[in-house]
Subunit: 256 residues, 8 copies
């Protein structure tokens, strides 16, 4: 359908203005454009890309592999890149049976339908982790950014207990455009980075830790209470959400 893009939408509206299309039939087109009922379990939001600049992303938990595959198929006609997050390997294998062309990023637990060569956009997201155990969350962020077409700079295992490891990478922080800082345990890394960086900092607490880490709550609280002001925090283990915010920031640069 031709209205599946900003250009298509504008054409439709012009046709209404010129009387070629009646408001009623335009309304129907637009309603259909905006979302689509998939089976009896989902409303795919095609309009989302128009509204927010990103296609809807499928959140895996609580959906059967069949439901995920069907939603991906429904979205395929209208979007070049379709992704689903929090997909465990066995779920991926079942999706693959139904959709053989689907790709899997195992460290990031992301499943995607996309062109072989994703068109590159200007801008890079710099991603830091405090420890090795934070990698799966950081990779969820990194793969999301890459699927959106932006570049990624990865800097793993630079936690604050060995502050010289971080300071030795000072120039990476200096040249960053947007920073995503991933940390578990006490979640102190964003505070130190926030005091060094001259760009927006997004903090992702992880559930890495034990005892009084309470599944990431300590890291989350550490980040919310950071003495380095101006840090945006996302949910525990939410690498995807951090990537979405980072891309939104970079898209602003594009528009400006």
């Amino acid at each position: 359908m031709s209205t599946n893009s900003p250009e298509g939408l504008r054409s439709l509206l012009d046709a209404v203005a010129s009387g070629q299309v009646s408001p009623d039939s335009a309304l129907l087109s637009l309603k259909d454009l905006s979302f689509e009922k998939v089976g009896n379990f989902a409303h795919v939001d095609h309009h989302r890309a128009l509204r927010t600049g990103f296609p809807e992303v499928i959140w895996g938990p609580g959906k059967t592999p069949e439901q995920i595959a069907k939603i991906m198929m429904a979205m395929r006609d209208r979007s070049n890149t379709i992704m689903a997050t929090r997909i465990e390997p066995d779920v991926f294998l079942e999706i693959q049976t139904l959709l053989p062309e689907v790709r899997y990023y195992d460290r990031a637990r992301i499943c995607a339908l996309c062109e072989t060569a994703i068109p590159k956009r200007l801008g890079t997201v710099t991603i830091l982790t405090a420890g090795t155990a934070d990698l799966p969350v950081a990779e969820e962020a990194a793969v999301t950014v890459e699927l959106a077409g932006f570049g990624v700079d990865r800097l793993w295992d630079v936690g604050v207990a060995g502050i010289h490891r971080l300071l030795a990478q000072r120039e990476v922080i200096d040249r960053a455009q947007v920073l995503i800082v991933v940390a578990g345990m006490e979640g102190a890394l964003p505070s130190v980075v926030g005091g060094l960086a001259d760009c927006p900092v997004i903090a992702v607490p992880t559930s890495v830790g034990y005892g009084a880490s309470f599944g990431g709550v300590s890291a989350l609280l550490g980040m919310l209470n950071s003495c380095a002001s101006g840090i945006g925090v996302v949910n525990i283990d939410n690498g995807f959400g951090a990537a979405m915010l980072a891309c939104q920031i970079l898209r602003g640069w594009e528009k400006s």
Copy 2:
């Protein structure tokens, strides 16, 4: 002191490279540049503007009016805009006795030393509140943004229980460059706004509410768990922090 700017700093480093200044005396200059001991209670971080693009901001609670005034005086030589947050009216009056030229923004509880006409920068932050009681937090954000030189679009009292009030302002959201969404109680407004906006969204939970709102915890959790992905959350009632992140994002546009 001439090193109080990026240009000054570069001159000093060139002088070291050319042998005009010994590394040891350069070190002393830089150390002094980077922070200054004020009384026996504070280290003012002059280097911060170089590192992060913002002068250090004074957080009022737990400091006496005298301490706040002394820190402001120590910063005055090196910065055009000096601000202190969370200043209650009676604290302001005591500061004013010591520093008569200080300004007070009462709804925002911010106290500032700045030029009469702050130089304008490109870029505007759009600030929304769910209710009237969220205003003090939103004003803390707004005044911080204005002191940093950016523009502010204010849209108060558009909470989700009267969703048409928000939808009627759809165009304000559409044209926003960065959004700060301030809400107490269940904190649902950023979720709805995040689904409509095509720009970065920063969510500020407020302590507005009672009973199971737990001083803003419910709003905070609502924002962290938002089904609209890509929202950066700051601490409860932290309008200042949200403003810092928003300005950091707009500054990125300037640099690009």
Copy 3:
């Protein structure tokens, strides 16, 4: 036994009044009427239908399949519809061995003994979910309502991050008699629906989410703190309880 109905009860009381039955023997009949010891583990509350209009419903967890089957058998003589909630598929299979005529609603995890055609009553409950992952809870509500004889309108996957999906269904909300709104994550959907609807709204938080959703606590708090006043909240994942309240409301209409 003839006292197993309001009519039977009234007959007994008239017989006491007229001296045909002694108070002592009436007392014994009534005691037996009101509950029955099943094995050495349960007191089935036959009187409950008289008192509250609903037969006692069996809560599955912590009971063995044999206990559930025995309680169902004990209730069968006095009630046309007997249901057990939170029955996992393997538990159902064991119950079925003992009670072959039992039915299973797998998405709702409800097990029931009932007539093939449940007599229809006037009134319909409209059930909304924010996401696809909320379906099991919503189905528990829907099947309970249907077993009670009322109609159900289902509207799945209309969460607030794509507010136009909900607004497109505005007329479903407008014509609703009672609304059950099921949502996980931040639980914002009841706030928006509560601002649109002109009928009682019952909110069901679900454990859908991760990290700071704390197994449904965030959604629960969001609903309790809703800025849309007049929403009744039930326990996390308690689709059954929401249905019971909705049916109680519709039964009031019948009586009026």
Copy 4:
């Protein structure tokens, strides 16, 4: 303005259909109808009564007396009954200076502008409290119900530790149409009442208690986990919200 009623609205829409009013000017009327900007701090939602059957109610905390008075004045033209909740006595006195005709219900902490004789509607809400200390919350519910035109049956101090006090009032429970049960401490009263009543039960936890009552959290949890299914719970101390739900239920009877 004539559109301030369902009838007025229908006239406007017919005028649009017949071409007497252009869609653009209709839009302007409707926009104005739906809400009104008051000062630079509030959007009064006039449309709310059309949408939800109740005029918007002013929540007092965080608003100055002047703001409350101004919002009341802005609403006065369009609504017969205007109420503000959580108004402390000294705030009332300041409002009264600006709006001398305002009434105050001190036990309920409600402030209202209304006709001397509120037109009566069919239906009564029965309100129970566990203890004497729960009265202010129960009165907030009672006065709200009365201002909405429905009747109230009050039954105070019938907590479960003296169960015979409750059972002696069995007939009050039996004839109830909707029950609001207010309790602090362990919040057990709704569980017992819910097992006796044959009508919808709304539970209101109060902050009455000490130590491990955690400001009403224990009562709230007790009500959410009630073994008597089908109880709708509202926020701690939220007598107003319970009344809104109760009235919404009774209005359904009117419509049926």
Copy 5:
């Protein structure tokens, strides 16, 4: 050893007083009496029965079957009844291999070494449960009481949502000497029973429930905040602890 009883201990002390035994060798005897090292993992407290009237009881979790069996063997010479709590069936089977004469109470998950006929003592503990799912905890209490030689009255499934089930058993409560009341979910049963009973009431919260029951926390809070004063509460699911307190109370009667 003869000092393994109050009588033996008194003899030893008399021997010291008369000079027949030196203080030093008496000290050695007493030290050995008071506890014994078992393997390199435990100090069995033989003195405990002297001090507190109960032999030490073995808490199963975190101990290997071998450790439990060895501690039981070490205690066997000095005590007629040895019990271990929280023993899962597979752990029991391993203990039985090493100690074939050990008995197992499966509903109570208690493992014991004791005489075939435990000598009966005067006094009975009445145990109530709110629901069928509370049985394992109630049985842990019941078996502990029986192993201590006291009688048990069991009354299961009399929760407050069907208050007439409880009231019909009024005479059981009236004649009770000590009551243990076991309940999950909202934990309201002890409040009602505490208002009826004229004897000490011990409340045991159970982890029965879901969602906001938080593994028994809601029931625990309900019991701690009971409006019926004078209820002693034990840890969640701690049927054993409740039994210990109940027996301690009955032993007081014996002594008086």
Copy 6:
């Protein structure tokens, strides 16, 4: 009224049995006996003494001085000892204006109407505190026990950090009949005492502490998790509740 005692009640029932009093008029007498409406705010539970052996006790918070005085007057005809807890000094002074004969125990914050010489009963409660700051709670327990006619042994400031202070009082613990152990901070005293005592132990956590004591929660948790089994715990600062349980235990001795 003659039915205000067990003897009076028995007479009434005999009169019914012999036909001298009709059941209907007996019912009326009993209903009046069981509770009495005081003003429009309370139901005084006269029957309570019959049911539970203690007259109803007035909990002060949330009641006006007038309400407390009126409830005391209503109870005076039927009970020799009437007490109200949590009465601050200024509230007492207002009550005294209305009821000059009322007594005040300032450390315990208890207000009582009672005979000059309370008849003594057999049995003593031993009360220990960990620190000096726990005294108000311990005194609430002590005065309650004394008003009930039992004896009190007080042992203050014997916390576990100076364990020899406790051990030097070993004989006080040895001869105790019932122990109430009051402690704040980590609440460890009941664990040590529970390992030494051969009688029931009731633990009262206090809100003494700071920081992570969370208003008594740490002490409460310490007591619930005590490794000394068989300790009954009451709410934070609930000296009154501990006393009620202790008296209930001693009354059992009387009956036996």
Copy 7:
């Protein structure tokens, strides 16, 4: 009394060994030595200095000024340095009336009776704070250390958001013998310091912060979960406790 010192105690024991003093009278002396009853509210633990190397310290909250003064007087004969913590200025003034020679350290809120020149011991404690608002807690630690005779190195306002302020003081950390690190908000400073220091690190969370700092809980959790292993944490705002541990460590050096 001569037994008020290790030397005195040894003399007494030798006298017992040589038969000059009977064990019974020695016991009496020792019992008196070990603690002393002050008024009817406290047991002063004189033995504590013998056992733990520190005299008992008086914790001010919950004690009246009179009680504090009386305890100080009771301790004066046996100890050269007596201190009380958490003494507000007005409480100090009342103590001073009774004990004119008492000293007050206002920033530390410590009140002390001590010689003019406290004898110096070998060893120094280095104390760091993250911010200016942490000073009162840090001063409580510093004054305690100084009263115990050790030296103090103070380094204020070196929080992690300006990491260069800390790194510039690297040599202070390098030469430290024991470090006390005081921080509020996210409590990250001990993690960075712990990764740099080669000596024991004691972390003190403070209640400095707002919103999700929850009165110091976030800082506490940050410190407990520190990725820099080997940090000992004390209660929120417990500068005194940190000082006690630091002195205990330095005393070990003395003994070695």
Copy 8:
């Protein structure tokens, strides 16, 4: 490499001072010295031993066996003792395949590469546990101390409910240099020990317990609120961290 020791480092710096090595190449050497990139997942911190006196220790959770083995190999050239904590038996077996010389301490779940005979250092750590179930945590501490070359005194199962077991070991506490006290449930043991000991006390809460022990939170809170001042607390189950602090304290003795 020769800079892998304090001596090597000093040589390098001298060479810079004398001009034999240029600052730039010295910088490169030092950068390499300070950490090393292992694969694309870790930065091994070789400099840590220089900075803090301990080699970096590998925290097992969230790392694959391959990652752990590779990090161990990278550290082998520079350190005599390399250890990894929280290694489950099956993970150990996979590491052993890659690194056959690795040792496993099963009760402590520690995996180490070290010389057969670790050189002994002066100083001993005394470790106490409250119960048998606390052993794994205590062994983690003990093995860490032993791998660091210090001695260990183990005293298991001396919890406060049998206080004479602890007092009988009074001399072990008296002669201790540093104490680690490990306890679950209410965590009271450190309070009693802290009142007896004259040396630093480190408290380790364990997750031993059930119900309201909340996975060790109750023990943690008990220790943080200890009435025995001067106790340093580490995270729940963190035997390793306690050992690190204890060794740091003993190393201070060495240096002094």
